[in-house]
Subunit: 228 residues, 2 copies
DNA sequence: GGGTTATAGATTGTATACAATGAAGCAGAA
DNA sequence: TTCTGCTTCATTGTATACAATCTATAACCC
């Protein structure tokens, strides 16, 4: 059918944006950090123009905050921000559920199940970077299946921001049960298998509430240690 | 209480973005139009840098499409795009309804009612520009009341895109009943007054479905005339 | 000392120059 | 004719220079 995949020119500004994005998500750039353009210029080996343009992109994604004539700062999330993020994520994922519940087939169920099993394996191997990405891939699969451009874009933005706060959980809430996520995903998959929309929605709410709580606890913990 | 309101420096790129945004929404820039940077440079009296940066912002808002080394083009909406826009708008407005239904008070009901009456007046005066902005203000009031940053941002993006296709309706579907919108708004307001969430959601679905249909009809009409 | 004003340094905002890319048209060969 | 390759031109991508702005520090006055 399709022999070749689309070729897309990738501009410098997008590469720069991706690098900064990853640095924020992985916590190498911390909240409130001042992002100085020339510093990135030197580290990335490009001129200021693509750096500036990348920062504009990231500002639109709410990963950085730009103050005119002052500069760019890594976004710091408040408790209210975290609550807003998760409430929006539930809204979007439940919308996705409505769209895809009658579109998924056996192949999809198998693919989703494979992701769950992979994640299980990675947990046992203590490879938490892959655990995170597989976890993400599970949710992304459902969102992508919606084929709804705005849903996909908005969800990705929200999730990137959540990822940026999740590193807080990793630092603060050191020892939480990774297998809970496995059970969560299985519950969701079962909901799709039996075409029970309400069950899926309830699961989404429950799961996101739990992760939200973990994030909030990590946040307060970090804030109290920052004061001392 | 607060004597002064916050002063916010406004950069050139934001002013440029706003001008282009309005031009697209008002239909002065038409879908598929090639936006050449130097042309805007001359018309706006600024250099290419802020123009470029403004175009990056608008690309993130999906009002223009940027192809590397080719340039920026005003977004052209397909039928699927329009359907996606309205389905997302319903999702967001229903989410807003959940958030604000128990927060609105008599003052809010009065404000919303004033907006409905103003719109009624503007219709009778045939001042359709004010009709549009008052219509928008009604919905915006409800969204803003949610105080949910992501909801507000996502909704504004969606609505800007809808506005960009609504001018199609104005051109294609010349004579539709402006008073329908008045009735719609009254239905929604009544729903809030009696705290009936399901009724509000159903109204939102119904209203957006109707406007979506009008947009789709206008789109097919314009496409058929474009061929001839 | 408390408070205001100058000054210096760093950083961002804007303008412009140069490099790279792609589209269109034309010429020539199969 | 139809395809290929070349050339030109318009336009975007990137780099850099200059202007405007802000922060902080120090000098100054009362």
């Amino acid at each position: 059918m399709t022999v070749f995949s689309q070729i897309r020119a990738v501009t410098l500004r997008e590469q720069v944006a991706e690098q900064i994005r990853i640095a924020i998500i992985e916590g190498r750039l911390k909240p409130k950090d001042h992002i100085v353009e020339v510093t990135l210029t030197e580290q990335l080996g490009v001129s200021r123009t693509p750096v500036r343009e990348a920062l504009i992109i990231l500002e639109r994604e709410s990963l950085v905050v730009s103050i005119p004539n002052r500069g760019c700062f890594v976004r710091a999330f408040t408790a209210d921000d975290i609550r807003a993020l998760f409430s929006m994520r539930v809204t979007l994922e439940n919308f996705a559920a409505e769209l895809v519940i009658n579109r998924l087939g056996h192949q999809d169920y198998d693919n989703l199940n494979d992701l769950i099993e992979s994640q299980n394996l990675f947990i046992q191997q203590n490879d938490f970077k892959k655990v995170r990405s597989t976890d993400m891939a599970f949710h992304q699969y459902l969102i992508a299946a919606s084929n709804h451009p705005h849903l996909i874009r908005n969800w990705q933005e929200i999730v990137a921001q959540i990822a940026a706060v999740l590193y807080l959980r990793a630092e603060g809430h050191t020892n939480y049960d990774e297998f809970l996520a496995i059970q969560d995903h299985q519950q969701i998959l079962d909901g799709y298998r039996v075409h029970n929309l309400d069950r899926i929605k309830a699961e989404n709410r429950r799961i996101n509430k739990r992760v939200e709580t973990e994030c909030l606890m990590a946040l307060t913990r970090l804030q109290s240690t920052a004061q001392s």
